[in-house]
Amino acid sequence: MSEKPKLAMYWGSACGGCEISVLNIHEHILAVDEIFDIAFFPCIADFKVHHVESYDDGYIDVCLWNGAIRNSENEEMAHLLRKKSKVMVAYGSCAYEGCIPALSNLTSKEATFNTVYHDNQSIDNPEGIVPLTEVEVAEGTLTLPEFYNTVKSLDQVVDVDYYLPGCPPEPPQIWAVLQVIVAGLLEGAPLPPAGSVVGVTNVAVCEECERVKSEKNIEKFYRPYQINPDPEQCLLEQGVVCMGLATNGGCGALCPQVGMGCRGCYGPLPGVEDQGAKMLSAVASVIGAGDHSMEEAELEEKIQAVVDTIADPAGTFYRFSMSHSMLRRAKVNGSNGKGEA
């Protein structure tokens, strides 16, 4: 092989969108091909695990890991690729902070299996078969990875050098980050400090959003289909839950600018421990219900009525950040889930 730097990309529990996003950086993909040798990238080239296992430690220069850690295969591969890679990038929201897969931390493995294999109108499973980690057949023992109770982010399993948020990351940010890494690898340019979140502005999405912001007083929340929002005014002020305030910028505020509340996929701002809690706290602060003259019980009722118009608060405020949140997961069978996988 040539002396080009080696690039790997692999997926854990993911939808595949992150791989596509890399291919979606337009003509820059040709530059990627020119700069890098692909060392492992099952989505676009035929590699096997044993190829990776055969590499020396640190052989891969950059590994873009996408997807959360949902099962033992994800975890095993994360350890393997960490060992073989100089720079490990948590690529995309799942790898960064759990994303949609981690919403299942609000329930348990049993409940998830029940929905997927038993209690679902599209299921036909009269024998009640569920995946097992081992099953004996005439030919011998078949194995499957173990499905964990708790979905973890990549950094909850291995050390991560950089985080590139987004669901998926936006092309200009991907290309900018690749350029920085390439400059570091080829020209010895300084790399961002390990542990950095890259491809972000570190100022909330609102900064990039052109909508006009004023003081907020929300009397009712709307789901996207319930309202045709004013094109100029801040969405949150109109009752559309927009996570832009609590979300790191860098995406160019694409969603809010076309009338869709920011979902929060770029994650929290620096120094924020829990994006969902921060947003909840902000929203709670601007609910317009009742006034000071009311008795506490009456006021509480009024506030509750407004709060009740928020559909699926956990899924709304923690859509991307459950693994990294202080909640981390719901209790399972009386355990707080702290020890178990």
């Binding site: 960490r82 100022v203 912001k213 907020k216 007083n217 609590a246 421990e273 902000a282 602060s285 601007v286």
Partner: protein
């Protein structure tokens, strides 16, 4: 935050206080100190009998100098007690005073349990939390705040008058706001004051006159505070001066208008419905200010557009009656505020079995006060509701609404004494009358009070120890016919008694003003479940509140008699005068600040600051906290969705470390590889 601290390199001194036996009796303080010595960052850990003593403070000071401590933790009492003491000790040792943290192992621990194992374990958790927090502490500088020398006193009763005169006589300007047309409060309605039987009006009215004439006092009666902004030293107050329809500059107070007014209504306030007053009126002859007020609701001119008798007969030039007058909103700045808003009397109709309102000759204490008052509706004669018959027997019922699970659990403190006073006044005016005092316990603590009780025993008042069950007119025997029968268990002889009397006087509880909750919100200070305002410390800081610059005096804080109210008024004035004399006070630097580079200008925070301390820069599209206005409440810090507002001394690092520290024995290992 100029010097950046490095939590890894901090050298913490830990001091665990015995507080005599207050802590050491339950908490194994030596064990806590020994245990803490091995914790990360801890340089020295000691236990000591009294950390707040000079010797205890010296320990801290010496260790800072000799062992190079950078942070100090004292595990002892509440920070309300001694945080300042230890901060100053740190300062003497050469540390910034904010490099200190206190763990409360007394109020939050040793005083809550007898379980030594649990208490010691909790003391460790609290101490560890303080250690893990303190390593993140940043040096902070106190902020100087100038004190506006003017003061607002709300309420013109005896407590407010006392406070106002103390300040005014010391040369400070006072705005006194009273919602009634005159100052004087409840005391102006009373006849005699116990136990000396001074004439209430005789001792009160000179003080009222002083207030009315004092050059340092701006008296605003018939006025209410509508809005309060600002903070200690710099409050801005809006007062609604209700239309009096009498020009105070022109009116001489001659009273001809009152005389000529052809309409009368029941005087439900001052004379508690026992007599009538004119529609243009002054509540009582010695009212201050002397200007009358038109009762718009009942004024025929206002209702039907005809009459104007008052204006026609007003002799002043120009005419003092101004029907077109409107409410005025006055705005002024003060440095401190004293609330002396007084009390309401319990509504005795809430206890229907005592018959008030149904049985004519059941009276309230205030009705009786007016009746025995020489300037009252009966000119001092004690008569029944027909306003002529003299009662031959009188029962006085104590604790009406007080010490009662159904109404107020507390003792109203003054009722025993004024009930005794009533008994004395009945003896004095109607020597042949039988007087019964039905009491639960006789509470007469105070100078000359017990002696007064003895005097009544000698005057042969009948004392019945028991709570009255009911007052009825349903006679069972001929002797009870036409009488009110007081059904009471006499617990001293262990028997039910039915006492037939002509007149019953109910001594109702003193309760918080009906609108005390709104008042407490207006002034941003606390009131308790009963509605009384809460003092900063029940023993050591009885007239201050948890809000700097707001003081309380008199019965708005809890039931109180005249001498106590006067003392509290003066005490509050002394506190205020002290601040005025200082001119500038140093305020806690616990303030919020917004990182100007990271603010996205989302405008979540802008309208939630209770002190209006957040401004928005339209040009840069970022928000900023004006430090001088910020009171460090933390509302915006919690609300900021980007986490770019920091509350000094309450940073994320500090709070999360504290929480993790308290959970030291159960915290999960960090979830990492």
């Amino acid at each position: 935050m100029s010097e950046k601290v490095n939590p890894e390199q901090e050298r913490v001194g830990v001091y665990v206080c015995h507080c005599g036996s207050n802590i050491a009796k339950v908490v194994d303080v030596e064990d806590v100190a020994t245990w803490a010595a091995d914790l990360p960052n801890v340089e020295v850990s000691r236990d000591y009998k009294f950390m707040c003593s000079s010797l205890g403070q010296d320990l801290i000071e010496e260790d800072i100098k000799e062992k190079g401590l950078t942070k100090v933790v004292v595990a002892s009492c509440s920070p309300h007690m001694h945080e300042k003491t230890f901060r100053v000790a740190c300062e003497r040792g050469g540390l910034n005073p904010f490099m200190f943290e206190m763990a409360n192992i007394r109020e939050h621990d040793s005083w809550t349990t007898d379980d030594e194992v649990a208490a010691t374990s909790k003391a460790k958790a609290l101490t560890n939390a303080a250690i893990e927090r303190v390593v993140h502490h940043q040096p902070l500088e106190q902020l100087p705040v100038e004190i506006n020398p003017n003061t607002l006193v709300v309420g013109g009763g005896i407590a407010g008058i006392s406070a106002t005169l103390e300040l005014a006589n010391a040369g400070h300007h006072v705005y006194m706001v009273e919602r009634e047309p005159t100052i004087g409060g409840h005391m102006a309605q009373l006849d005699k004051t116990f136990p000396t039987l001074d004439c209430s009006a005789c001792i009160l009215t000179p003080k009222m006159v002083d207030v009315g004439q004092h050059p340092n006092i701006t008296l605003l009666t018939w006025s209410e505070v509508e809005k309060v902004d600002g903070f200690l030293g710099n409050f801005t107050v809006n007062v609604r001066k209700k239309a009096r329809y009498v020009n105070e500059e022109h009116c001489t107070g001659c009273g001809i208008c009152i005389e000529k007014c052809p309409f009368k209504v029941s005087d439900d306030i001052f004379e508690v419905g026992l007599s009538e007053r004119k529609v243009i009126y002054r509540p009582f002859p010695q009212a201050v200010p002397k200007y009358p007020v038109i009762d718009k609701e009942n004024c025929v001119y206002f209702q039907r557009g005809k009459c104007k008798a008052c204006q026609i007969f007003c002799p002043t030039e120009p005419n003092s009656i101004e029907f077109e007058q409107e409410d005025e909103i006055l705005s002024f700045d003060v440095g401190n505020i004293i609330l002396a808003t007084g009390y309401d009397l319990f509504d005795v109709k809430k206890i229907p079995q005592y018959g008030y309102g149904r049985l004519a000759n059941v009276f309230t204490s205030l009705e009786f006060e007016r009746m025995v008052n020489a300037s009252g509706p009966t000119e001092g004669s004690i008569v029944l509701r027909d306003m002529e018959s003299t009662p031959k027997s009188v029962a006085i019922v104590h604790c009406v609404g007080s010490r009662d699970e159904n109404y107020h659990k507390y003792c109203s403190k003054v009722c025993c004494m004024y009930s005794l006073k009533f008994a004395h006044l009945v003896h004095e005016r109607i020597p042949e009358a039988e007087v019964y005092n039905c009491y639960i316990d006789m509470r007469t603590p105070g100078k000359g009070y017990e002696e007064f009780y003895n005097r009544l025993l000698e005057e042969e008042t009948n004392f019945i120890r028991g709570k009255v069950a009911e007052v009825t007119d349903a006679a069972r025997i001929p002797e009870e016919e036409g009488k009110l029968i007081v059904q009471v268990e006499d617990t001293l002889i262990g028997r039910q008694r039915r006492v037939p009397v002509d007149m019953v006087i109910l001594s109702p509880a003193m309760e918080a003003r009906a609108d005390s909750k709104e008042i407490s919100q207006l002034f941003k200070m606390g009131c308790d479940f009963d509605g009384f305002f809460v003092e900063r410390h029940p023993k050591l800081d009885p007239v201050a509140t948890m809000t700097d610059g707001i003081y309380i005096a008199g019965a708005c804080q809890g039931p109180k008699d005249v001498p106590d109210s006067v003392a509290q008024g003066a005490a509050a004035a002394a506190r205020v005068a002290g601040l005025i004399n200082l001119g500038t006070v140093m305020m806690e630097p616990v303030r919020a600040s917004i990182n100007q580079d990271e603010c996205s200008g989302c405008k979540i925070c802008n309208n939630m600051c209770p002190y209006n301390a957040i401004i928005f820069h339209e040009d840069r599209e970022v928000s900023e906290v004006i430090t001088a206005l910020c009171q460090g409440c933390g509302t915006c810090v919690a609300a900021c969705p980007s986490g770019v507002i920091t509350g000094a001394h309450f940073t994320n690092d500090q709070l999360f470390s504290q929480i993790e520290g308290i959970l030291w024995d159960v915290r999960p290992e960090k979830v990492t590889a």
